[in-house]
């Protein structure tokens, strides 16, 4: 597997301009001859579909939900960053670039991150023009707030529903192109496989979730915008349908998978409270602007929070990290919460929670101001926990949130399969080992609105492609393979449910294995143990899973089983990747690699690279390749938020 990142030459600030100039173009009259498939309609997929259709390409867009508006980008609450410097507080493209590189613990590519910072300003303008109702100052200008990992106010927001409003903006642009006939929208379709012709991505096989019918679709290029794989852990903040299938299928067809062990653990989630729990709910990180994190100083102190006097509270983030305080990046906040709970100072019925307290902010600014900022988050918290954050501090605990690993892409967002692009969360490129708040929305929209169009034109303009139709042999073969996979999934269900396990039971088992051994803190011994136990769970799945019904109908158990089968295979490279990375990085603490103060210790000499896994065939050990990360403009330093 050859890893050429195709980073343009020249000074950092000029790379993107140079690249756009040297990229091939497709003239407007020829664009309508090209067909492009986009899988996924989140921020990246919807914005890419709309933009490519505006440019004149024939776009076919697929989503798993009943409407493109449901994609999981809607759930992002806090905001989106841009280097507008509207607050005149010293922000710049260079600073946004630097904060993002540093926040990612120096494990992302300089050129990609700089480009992200550059186009961030266009995103805000684009969304404003679409009518996204961003918060405004009284004078009518755009309002900003600060976010974890930054000392400037560069985050734009629409109450606590920024992701939803940005997605609805992209969805409206997509809807306009559906009306114009330039996008053919396929809803309730799950991508089951990628089809290659002459080594190039030329189409996909999908399953209609309503009828169970399989179909093939051909195109000149395929863009995956299918999000992250956090649901491998069963419990995560991801939507229930978020999965790894599309990316994993592409991987098995030859696309390198980068940094699969980089999973972000978000510090402010509502804690787990029962074995029946199906998912975890995230509370926006923006709450840490006004909320103070604390635990009782004394382990095992089970008094109500209101009865614990000030001097018996430990505001551990403020005392340990005086300059960032409660706004330390996500990994630092998460790790410290775990540490406090490990020391027995956790609160709540499970002792796996810390307090996020608004009492001081309410006293300072008044209830009305706090409710204006966080009202819907408070309401959401109260609905779930029956406790009102105006009267009692919130309880929070870290949870699996965003995945920084994903399909390896070059500067053109192209995977190692020619003609297969990966954008948004499903690629690996911009966030390094740790994603800062308000930067996921930025990357999704940057890729979709402003970057992938140039890259697609360059690919189509420099690669002559023969016409292929979905009736040709590679498509019929892929279709047969998908049919065989479904038959294999249903095989163990013959003879009824007696003595068998449900899909969720096995998924929970996989989730626990990953959380315990490949979660926030990892060590060699645990990872090796996980690698030994994984095949047992895989075997249990194939031998004893019970799936009611057939493949030729709406069958939600079968859908989940198919995704779990892929998570079970994918987990292997997650664990192997964590095992190979013998350094602590971002929110991934290798217990063997710590500073004297128990902070995560990065090892730049040994691990300043992207780990890229190549699939060598079923049952074969995957091969690890490395893309060295070269830092010409920043000097990696030990991250310190003290």
């Amino acid at each position: 597997m050859e890893l050429n990142a195709n980073i343009p030459s020249g000074p950092l600030a000029e790379k993107w301009d140079n690249h756009r100039f040297s990229s091939k173009l497709v003239n407007p009259a020829n664009r309508r001859k090209y067909r492009i498939i986009v899988v996924g309609t989140g921020l990246a997929g919807a914005s890419a579909s709309a933009t490519l259709a505006e440019q004149g390409y024939e776009v076919s867009t697929f989503c798993i939900q009943d409407s493109p508006r449901r994609a999981h980008s809607i759930a992002a609450q806090g905001g989106i960053n841009a280097a507008k410097n509207y607050q005149n507080d010293g922000d710049s493209i260079q600073r946004l670039f630097y904060d993002t590189i540093k926040g990612g613990d120096f494990r992302s590519r300089e050129a990609n991150v700089y480009r992200l910072a550059q186009v961030s300003n266009n995103i805000i303008d684009q969304c404003v023009a679409q009518g996204v109702p961003f918060a405004r100052e009284y004078g009518g200008t755009l309002a900003n707030r600060s976010f974890g990992g930054a000392q400037v106010s560069r985050t734009f927001y629409a109450r606590g529903q920024t992701g939803q409003q940005l997605l609805l903006g992209a969805y409206s642009a997509l809807s306009r192109q559906i009306k114009n006939g330039k996008v053919t929208m396929h809803t309730r379709q799950e991508m089951m496989d990628l089809v290659l012709v002459d080594g190039k991505a030329r189409g996909i096989v999908t399953r209609d979730i309503i009828s169970g019918k399989l179909s093939s679709h051909s195109a000149d290029a395929v863009i995956l915008a299918t999000g992250g794989y956090g649901n491998a852990y069963f419990l995560s903040t991801n939507a229930m349908a978020s999965n790894v299938t599309a990316a994993w299928r592409a991987h098995k067809k030859g696309a390198g998978f980068a940094n699969p062990c980089f999973v972000q653990i978000h510090p402010t989630c509502i804690p787990v409270h029962g074995h029946f729990q199906s998912k975890l709910t995230l509370m926006s990180e923006s709450l840490r602007n006004d909320g103070r994190v604390w635990v009782p100083k004394k382990p095992g102190d089970s008094r109500r929070p209101g009865s614990i006097p000030e001097e018996e509270r430990d505001y551990y983030l403020e005392s340990k990290y005086p300059s960032f305080g409660n706004l330390v990046p996500r990994d630092v906040a998460s790790r410290n919460a775990k540490e406090q709970c490990d020391e027995g100072k956790g609160v709540g019925t499970t002792n796996l929670a810390v307090y996020l307290d608004f009492a001081e902010a309410i006293q300072r600014d008044g209830k009305a101001t706090i409710l204006k900022k966080y009202g819907n988050l408070f309401q959401m918290y109260e609905k779930i926990t029956a406790s009102n954050p105006l009267h009692e501090p919130m309880m929070i605990y870290p949870a699996v949130h965003y995945t920084m690993g994903g399909l390896w892409v070059d500067y053109n967002l192209m995977t190692t399969i020619p003609g297969l692009f990966a954008i948004g969360e499903c690629n690996f490129s911009d966030h390094g080992a740790n994603r800062l708040g308000a930067s996921a929305l930025m990357q999704g929209l940057a890729d979709g609105y402003f970057i992938v169009g140039t890259c697609i034109a360059n690919y189509l303009g420099s690669n002559p492609l023969a016409t292929v139709e979905a009736s040709e042999q590679p498509f019929t073969e892929a279709l047969k393979q998908v049919q065989a996979n479904i038959a294999r999934l249903l095989k163990s269900s013959e003879g009824g449910p007696e003595g068998k396990l449900t899909v969720d039971e096995i998924h929970k088992e996989l989730g626990l294995l990953l959380w315990d051994h490949c979660g926030m803190a990892r060590n060699k011994e645990g990872l090796e143990k996980a690698l030994k136990e994984l095949p047992l769970i895989q075997k249990k799945f194939w031998d004893t899973v019970y799936i009611p019904g057939t493949g030729e109908e709406l069958n939600q158990s079968l859908e989940r089983a198919g995704r779990l089968a892929d998570f079970l295979e994918f987990a292997e490279i997650m664990i192997r990747d964590a095992l190979a990375r013998e350094e602590s990085c971002g929110c991934h603490l290798r217990e063997e690699s710590q500073t004297e103060e128990n902070e995560a210790k990065r090892d730049d000499a040994g691990y300043s690279h992207v780990s890229v896994w190549e699939h060598m065939g079923d049952g074969e050990e995957p091969t690890l390749h490395k893309e060295d990360l070269i830092f010409e403009n920043v000097t990696p330093s030990q991250r310190s938020y003290k």
Binding site: Q65, I74, R136, Y138, A173, M185
Partner: protein, 252 residues
């Protein structure tokens, strides 16, 4: 968080597909933790049904955070259940008590055909947006965001309307099967903002026409939509839409 448990009787609408005739089936469910969400309760039921070799209940859901708008069913006659401004996924079992019978059925409307059990097809709402629920602006070349100043109060009003999640509860609860709260919210958001002005007239006409084409009814001020809306969208948006439509029809 309490760890009490309750026992329930569920009457759930079962329908194999769009063509089949549906009927209610009764299920008894014991030891349901009151800390569970309504959908987690359905998960437990489905695990039980699966283990018993029966077909689990199909229902739509995705984010389980009350934002995506994918979930929804009618519980004892109320879309999304008894709690105000709450989606089905954010409804918790602590609001029910032992011995309760819950009648669970899909969102019913001529424009929302049933696909299976509690799953309906709400793509008609997408087609209303496709008729004009957007600002026609291509990517790139847009002016700096601060060159379009918007008074904070106006932005907030637009945001109130924009917070619609498109779940369709308004349609299901309306005796006329009207989608006017949904459509009114989008028309309001865009007509309040300067960006929405150039297409204001055309948008109002096209979106109202799309509602009629899809087979949605008209508003007769029953206010059921507002009562069940999980995002508290006000029927003032319907009034605003009507005004926009009348203005567009008579004054162009």
């Amino acid at each position: 968080m309490s760890i009490d448990t309750i026992d329930l009787s569920l009457e759930i609408w079962r329908q194999k597909d769009s063509k089949a005739t549906g009927n209610f089936e009764t299920y008894a469910l014991q030891n349901i933790s009151t800390g569970m969400s309504f959908l987690e309760m359905l998960d437990v039921l489905n695990e039980n049904l699966t283990r018993a070799g029966k077909d689990p209940v199909a229902f739509d859901h995705d984010c389980r955070e009350g934002i995506c708008g994918m979930c929804g069913a009618v519980i004892n006659g109320v879309a999304h259940g008894p709690e105000p401004e709450t989606t089905l996924c954010q409804l918790h079992m602590r609001h029910f008590k032992t011995g309760d019978t819950l009648v669970i059925e899909p969102f019913r409307s001529r424009a929302f055909p049933i696909r299976k059990d509690l799953i309906t097809d709400r793509s008609a709402l997408d087609r209303i947006i496709q008729a004009g629920g957007y600002v026609s602006v291509n990517t790139g070349g847009t002016p700096d965001g601060n060159t379009i100043p918007i008074p904070s109060a106006t932005a907030e009003l637009a945001m109130d309307a924009a917070s619609c999640i498109g779940c369709g509860a308004c349609v299901a609860s309306c005796p006329n099967g009207a989608a006017m709260l949904f459509t009114g919210a989008k028309i309001s958001q865009l007509c309040l903002l300067p960006q929405g002005q150039p297409e204001r007239t055309e948008r109002a006409l096209a979106m109202v026409k799309a509602m009629d084409t899809e087979g949605f009814g008209n508003c007769t001020n029953e206010r059921e939509c507002e009562a069940v809306c999980p995002k508290g969208i006000s029927i003032r948006n319907i009034a605003r839409m009507n005004k926009e439509f009348v203005k567009a029809t008579f004054f162009g």
